[in-house]
Symmetry: C4
Subunit: 323 residues, 4 copies
């Protein structure tokens, strides 16, 4: 496993990491969670991504139980959580980044995770109804109180990230270190264009999500939705349309030819392409099956084979079929 | 129930909230307190106002016991307290905002309230004998130590509020967020004129008190002081004069005609008029009877019916009979 | 008892307070300490001065035991301690204001005093071998950690006090609030000349010591050293010379005539003269006998009788016989 | 024993102190450790240097056990530790100064040392992969949390030290106070040239290591490697070459003549020469035998005999045979 610095911070994260969105608390039961964490660690993964809202808190609870049983030294792994969506549709409990919600949320997350602190804590979305300054103070206070080590954002605009950074700099608070954006061959503008100045100016690190565009980039939707896939789960109707888009699936088909030449899967190619972006600190991958982990890891070898010319070729195949 | 941001902060407060001045520890017993809190919550109220001085500490104690029995999730409600008057007429124990008094007071309030923290903590009055800087440090320290989430002032001058804000900004301390002023149809100058620039400049929120001018705006004093009313309580002689002012009661009579047209009480009209002021975050209402809560809540519907023209008409009725 | 603000702070201290230098742990036993504290409190005294070095720690211990038995509400009284001299003649344990010594010392003082915090903590002397910045951080940290409420200095130069103030202002630390200088009719230059600008510029308060010039201003040394006086104690040889100075005792004799006219003792006149200085927050007086306390308190009445003309007359009597 | 200020700080360190590199946990067993600490203290040594990496944590553990048995007042001695190398060759656990590693490391060190705090905590080497700002925050946080009193660096460049100082100054954090560089007659450039401006500009103190150039300056390698010396230990092959350098051993021979004239050993002369540098706060010496301690202490007397002329003579003997 290769490791990268989380942006300009000193934290080393494995290039590929494990996320529990959808997975834990839904499809994956307790034992499976423990096994996939153990397999990931054996493969060198040291970052396990989580959030308050995943499976309504159950994702944190299951990860907490698994980590307790695995009993690794705390310094050897990195756990995150994220706050914004909340667990109750009530004022100050959802869709907010106000001080009351955040300071309440971290305590409950730590209890579910059975940890003294998380390594990374994210603002899961921007909140237009809370001043950035209030949020920065609360996030920084989590670090001061020893409940988190680093904080960052997820799906914030470049302007909002910079505002947070500058407010923290001015008031001598802990600054945001990382952002968790969607990033894959079909979703690139924010990472490649909007954030462009932030990498150099503030040393922003990226922990990217949806590297396979919800599975679209595995190629398995080229012939419609297969049985048992995530797009068939209740509440994921919005995914089905996206995943069966014929234009995109045609691109996926052509990427399949490149993958064949490299002797890898389309998914491995898609991951490898992300790894060629030096601003990406780690790719958060799913892990509903233990074998997936090993498969994904091979993307590191493929990345080493992606020459500038090949990269150009891949991006030419995608054309402007991305946002 | 509608909710509003507490000024520019991210905290959402119900437009109508419940105060315990006079009420708890005096007229209302323990069970009644619990029932009125529960009824208010059922109506969507999420903010319960309190102060050290109310009923000499008993108001906090009774609210604390009620909250403990009700056992709501802590994140779901907002409790305040306020310091200045003190409980003992002795140096450093009353009429002060010095560090010694404030840091002692918050610990005792939290004990009476049986809470780990209050959401809002107010300086109940300005203290000319303590530098604003000393008070700002002590209030900010309460937040740093996790004993409060937001702090503000009550009946401070605009100049004093801005001084506190600027000192906190300069020394990177927690800034004041809200002010609790008297505000009703007969008491408007501070909120509408003196504080005017503060809403935009520092994002000041308002938690207003005495919306019915101690009952004058219910109309029940149009024919003198009825038996059992607050104006008959010991120690409230000063109120009697104000409440039986003939000029004001004549205004109240004319407001009664407007209320009749809208199909509401004078009190509901008076509350609705306050709600039309967007700088008001929440109106603190009394709650000596459970039914009062439901009645007051109807003011939200009435507020929706107050057109700019109707607002002008109401204010023309009051004329210059206000301070 | 009258109260004054401690400089520009909001803390109210009694004009006359009780110090335990020499007294506790030496001449005064446990019960006597408790009785003199109780008598002082009955007379309205709210400030009890102490220091680590007084009687080698025993003065704090005896005061702590007395306070525990008296069991007054903590908010109702003010206790101080002071650090510099240390209890052991070893590096980092005496004659220093370095971080290691100070943070160790406060913990031991609080243990001896059986208190969670002292109200006032003083740097007992300046330390030329520690940067003022290091001392300011350590003193400020005591306040941040809740072990003290206000900090100050004793016998620092005006330049050193201002340095401490400015460093704290620049680094957003808790600033020094008070100074404890020697001040009496024979010792005036520092308070009246050297510190002159500090009262207005930084709001410095004074808790003055040796108001009777070690007893010289009681008049009891006019005819040599009486048996049983402090000047006869072991280790106080240096005092004897000062107390039997014939020039000063002649001044004392003339002050006695003024005192006679006012119907008070020379000591009461000397205390009253100090009270006419508005920059003095409190005069620390000794209390080896309970009756002394009541006697000293009468100085407040005498102070009210000292007109500007009488003050001029008193100071003319002293002439230039002071430092 | 003479004491010096640790740079411009107020901390007094003995001119000669005891280090446990190599020693504890390897050659020296538990009882011997306790005896050498006791002998050093009897000789006036008040600083005992340590590091996480020494003997893989065992050096801290043995020192902790010895200190516990000796049961000296905590204020009377100074203990250090250092972080960078780490105990496990895994990401975020070695060769790093990131926040995660540092905050984890201090807790484990304190547990091994059985202490509430260390006096001095060092960054054992610079880490090019962590921003200085991240490290400064973490080191400062250790002090804020009461886990250390002063922090510094070891073998950092002048530029890195100044960067740390300025970042701390700008963000009002605890500043670095000392550096632990190698310094002896054969290794002088960093201390004498590179750091030159830092002594005055930021008041840097030095706790120097390897005063005898790993034994070369004792003269015992003039005839090859004697049996049982450190150069014969496993893993110290790199030392053997350095220690048997014929040019340097010829210099050592000539120094022996100077030592003879002064009536001291070459080692004592080498220590005494270091003491003539006023920028050195303390020399860390080894202590595998109790008698060594007494022998080393004599260097203070020799230092008093090194006139400017004699110092020039010594340095002329070394010539340019140093780095």
């Amino acid at each position: 496993m290769n490791y990268r610095r989380l942006g300009r911070s000193g934290l080393q994260v494995s290039e590929l990491s494990i996320g529990s969105w959808v997975t834990y608390g839904n499809q994956v039961d307790r034992r499976a969670a423990r096994e996939s964490l153990a397999a990931a660690r054996d493969a060198g993964v040291n970052f396990f991504d989580n959030a308050e809202v995943y499976a309504g808190g159950k994702s944190e609870q299951i990860m907490g139980e698994a980590l307790k049983e695995l009993n690794w030294p705390r310094v050897s792994y990195i756990v995150s959580t994220k706050f914004f969506w909340g667990l109750n549709e009530a004022p100050n409990q959802y869709h907010t980044l106000n001080r009351k919600y955040l300071l309440n949320a971290i305590d409950h997350s730590l209890k579910r995770l059975q940890l003294d602190y998380v390594d990374l804590v994210f603002c899961h979305r921007p909140d237009p109804n809370t001043p950035v300054e209030e949020t920065v103070w609360a996030m920084s206070d989590m670090i001061t109180r020893g409940k988190a080590l680093y904080w960052g954002t997820s799906e914030w605009s470049a302007d909002e990230i910079r505002a947070a950074y500058e407010i923290a700099e001015r008031h001598h608070l802990h600054k945001p270190v990382m952002e968790q954006p969607q990033y894959n061959l079909f979703h690139r503008k924010r990472v490649e264009q909007e954030y462009r100045r932030l990498y150099e100016d503030i040393g922003l690190g990226l922990t990217t999500w949806s590297p396979l565009a919800s599975g679209l980039l595995t190629g398995k939707y080229r012939n419609g939705v297969p049985a048992g896939s995530r797009a068939e789960l209740q509440g994921y109707d919005w995914l089905r349309k996206e995943l069966t888009d014929s234009g995109k699936n045609s691109v996926v088909g052509k990427l399949g030819e490149v993958a064949d030449e490299l002797g890898c899967t389309i998914g491995q190619l898609a991951l490898a392409w992300i790894l060629t972006n030096p601003n990406v600190s780690t790719i958060i991958t799913g892990a509903s099956r233990v074998e997936q982990i090993a498969e994904n890891m091979k993307a590191q070898d493929i990345a080493a084979q992606i020459t500038p010319e090949l990269k150009e070729k891949i991006e030419a195949i995608v054309g402007d079929a991305y946002q």
